[in-house]
Amino acid sequence: MALTTMIGARIHRREDPRLVSGRGRYADDFIRPQTAFMAVVRSPFAHARITSIDAAAAKAAPGVVAVYTAADFEAVVAGAMPVAPAFVAEKKQAPDRYPIAKSEACYQGEPVAVVIAETRYQAADAAALVDVEWEPLPAVMDMEKAMEPGSPAAHEGAAEGNVAWDLTYNADAEAAFAEAEVVVKQRILQQRLAPTPMEGRGVLAEWHATDRTMTMWMSSQNPHFIRLFVGGAMSIPESRFRVISPDVGGGFGSKISPYPEDYLVPGASKLLGRPIKWSETRTENLQNATHGRGQIFDVELAGNRDGTMLGLKLTQYLDCGAYVGTFSAFQACACLLPGPYNWKQVASRTVGVLTNKVPTDPYRGAGRPEATHLVERMVDLFTQEIGADPAEVRNKNFIQPDQFPFTNPFGLIYDSGNYPGTLARALEMAGYADVRREQEAARARGRYLGIGISTWIEICGFGPSAATAPATGGLALTESAHVRVFPTGSVNVYVGTHSHGQGHDTTFPQIVADTLGVPYDMVDLHHGDTAEGPAFGYGTYGSRSLAVGGLAVLKASQRVRDKAKKLAAHLFEAAEEDVVFDQGHFYVKGSPENRKAMAEIAFASYGANLPEGHELGLEAVAYFDPPNFVWPFGAHVCVVEVDPETGSVDMLKYVAVDDCGNVINPMIVEGQLHGGIAQGIAQALFEEVVYDDDGTLKTGTLLDYAMPTANEMPPLSLDSTVTPSPSNELGVKGIGEAGTIAASAAVINAITDALSPLGIKHIDMPASPDRLWKQMHEERAYSAQGATADLGGGGSEQAQPQAGGTATTPVPGGLGEGGTQEGTGGGTPPPGQAGPQQGNNQEGSR
């Protein structure tokens, strides 16, 4: 057998020299002869009827080539945009979405017309001259109000209550709740977030009328999807539709689903017979790229005073926005609710609600950060209620290492894990006992130190097709690879996944080099061009590239190696079973001195005198459908100090111990964790998409949307354990989303712990200084009056008395009631004022 040499090595990325030199190839870097530029005329209203569109002034403006509206595109683009019908049976009223509004616009930013001009500037100028007559309609902005009887409709003809779906996964947790001594309840909010990749979206499309081919250059996480969906809508077969997405400046889930412009740009190119280019502005990105999260959870946890957790009940209200996003259903986080714990019962219901905002869709983690956040918050609320240590309660309830494979209450099978192992290591690194002592001492001096723990698990590696195809309407989420060995031994690998920061150019060749025993430098990876490689691929998201795509790469490499071995046997005039493959060389058992390198076999495979029936050439395609999901896990510990005078949070320590099974390249794993944790911290402390009551986006630039700078990010201490997945030959899991899944709960649990002496039990995100300051001062005032039973604002509600006569945690605000913690927009001050400083200390800029 070949010895592993490259897998596990900390190899520097081979894509970096071009990226650090300014030689990247991002969407806006491409241009074709005769290119015209497109600007989009968008709805300024969240909800309005289009009475008329007068394009005369725009058409007369300098450089304008054409103005198109919905009626023009009917000739070249047909049908509604795709929605994965995960909840098709329960779907009540999800309106179809078209690339361009015809008579009604349902969110601010929805396209109503496009202007094509000779330059970018001329297109932008003329777009302002398109005269649209609007009849504004009531905007449905608040999810809870949207569900009330008599609410205005987010769409003409929408069902009563604007409900897109209402689905119960597991109805019953009553037995667990009946035997519990303690029930804690909490409403937990997940604010809307903007994924904000540093590169916005962009499309360049070129239609060749003579040979009837379409080529698109764009910023996408999965070019094959775009070819499938857009090609379908334009009736252009895949054989003549090429999508190229070379370097992509980040996606984070926002470049998975097809967008209106993905149809309008090629549509305009076909109408006009010229290449058309459109580049998104940042405001367009914040307004039109899919948002993430945007959910309200009502959660109850049942347990006993000895720390045993028994049951969990949850209702999720998901703000779909104006349309159900293509993969919106993946945000329904029910399947991950059990987390790493051993529950008796878990009950879950998800309700999708239509509002007049841009659709939500997967954003890094998609459903899994939400699930982890709410479970980890509930564990801490329970722990606080029974007066126990949060680390001990977690340890007491963990699924133990000898219980794998473990079937959770939703029938999903966890592959492997050592949950106590990662927590023990994280606590050790954080100096948990010492920090607890410091906390006590600090409290005595009126300082607010807190420690937060988040023990997370993740479901990733989508497929398997048996689970994903029914949920997506047939998209199996398998993965593909094509390995080609050239006559002199160098290797090209083509994959259906897409790398936009994940480093596949480096990690996948590591797998190939080991499997074929060829030098790493001889292996090159290609992705992001549908004209190359296997016929189909599903792209990169959901931490799937290695656990699915990496396995396709391995299988294709193994096929090549097996083929080479057959040929080696022929060349040695030996039986195949007598041929040994060792580190890139073949020899006959017992004669290692007489050996042939892979390159020699490769040359022979294209040559003469091959045995009858032997297939010429040395290349192979493989598709991989994983037998199960993979389940990475870990433990994060955060230590904070909150300043009671300003409400600002000082992050003193952040420790993460994660386990993603076997690791191909530890440097890249660490990088993925750094970025993921940063996005989780950003949600916890800074970021929030805010609309006003009329549906105008208030966070429409990076001045207002509070993305953190280096100044706001703490140093991170990372470590890992290795528990291989038994589900695949490489023993790998996924790590792309782990940091984001874990981090928000660790931070909020730390802040809540810090402020617990004030009676604060729960804090919603973002825990900005103004929110914390207000909450601290409300609680203090309340405590000063001697009342302690109804903390947290909003109406409280006593849980039903339990056998055993237990205390319950008050619930701030039931559904439909008022309350300071309700709603993702209304009661929350906009971030930015108190968020990170978007500093600008560079001379010459302003």
């Binding site: 520097h12 540093m198 940042r282 405001t283 970025g675 990076l702 991170l716 600008n840 200390n841």
Partner: protein
């Protein structure tokens, strides 16, 4: 009405006629064809478009091309030596895994060049403060800070190197 601009970009003189409103970043990308300078926000928050103007870091989305008239511009394409050897800051970003998607990277490298020019041995905090005009969504800034520290060390060594040779030891 078009205006004549004459400037030096990465050591080479160049003259063009441009509209008064043309942004410097669009001039660099669309007219001069130097696409390494990126656009990330349009409002001067993200720093992806950072270049050096007469040696100072500026955000090229905030200047008009005509404001570059008579000035010396350096973009990311001008950082490596003429034989292709990477600048120590470029090399450090590569060595320390200081980039993932790479879109913000040219701006960070240019901002770091100016930072190290003013402060050759910055502390962790000075680096974070010095780069707060640039946004990255991928790295959590952990390895960017490391890269700048590592570049500072390399550049410090490179500067120190000729001195021992001069002593004749």
């Amino acid at each position: 009405m078009k205006h004549k601009v004459s400037l030096t970009i990465n050591g080479k003189g160049r003259e063009d006629e441009v509209e008064a409103r043309l942004l410097l970043v669009h001039y660099l990308r669309d007219v001069a064809g130097l696409t390494g300078t990126h656009i990330g926000c349009d409002t001067s928050q993200c720093g992806a478009c950072t270049i050096l103007l007469d040696g100072k870091a500026v955000k090229s989305c905030t200047l008009f091309a005509v404001q570059g008239d008579g000035h010396d511009v350096k973009t990311i394409e001008g950082m490596a030596a003429s034989d292709g050897t990477l600048h120590p800051i470029q090399q450090a970003f590569w060595d320390e895994h200081g980039l993932q998607c790479g879109y913000c990277t040219p701006g960070f490298i240019m901002a770091a060049a100016y930072l190290l020019d003013r402060n050759p041995d910055p502390s962790d905090e000075e680096i974070r403060k010095g780069l707060e005009g640039n946004l990255c969504r991928c790295t959590g800034y952990v390895n960017i800070v490391k890269a700048v520290q590592s570049a500072a060390q390399t550049m410090g060594r490179d500067q120190a190197r000729p001195q021992p040779a001069a002593t004749g030891e």
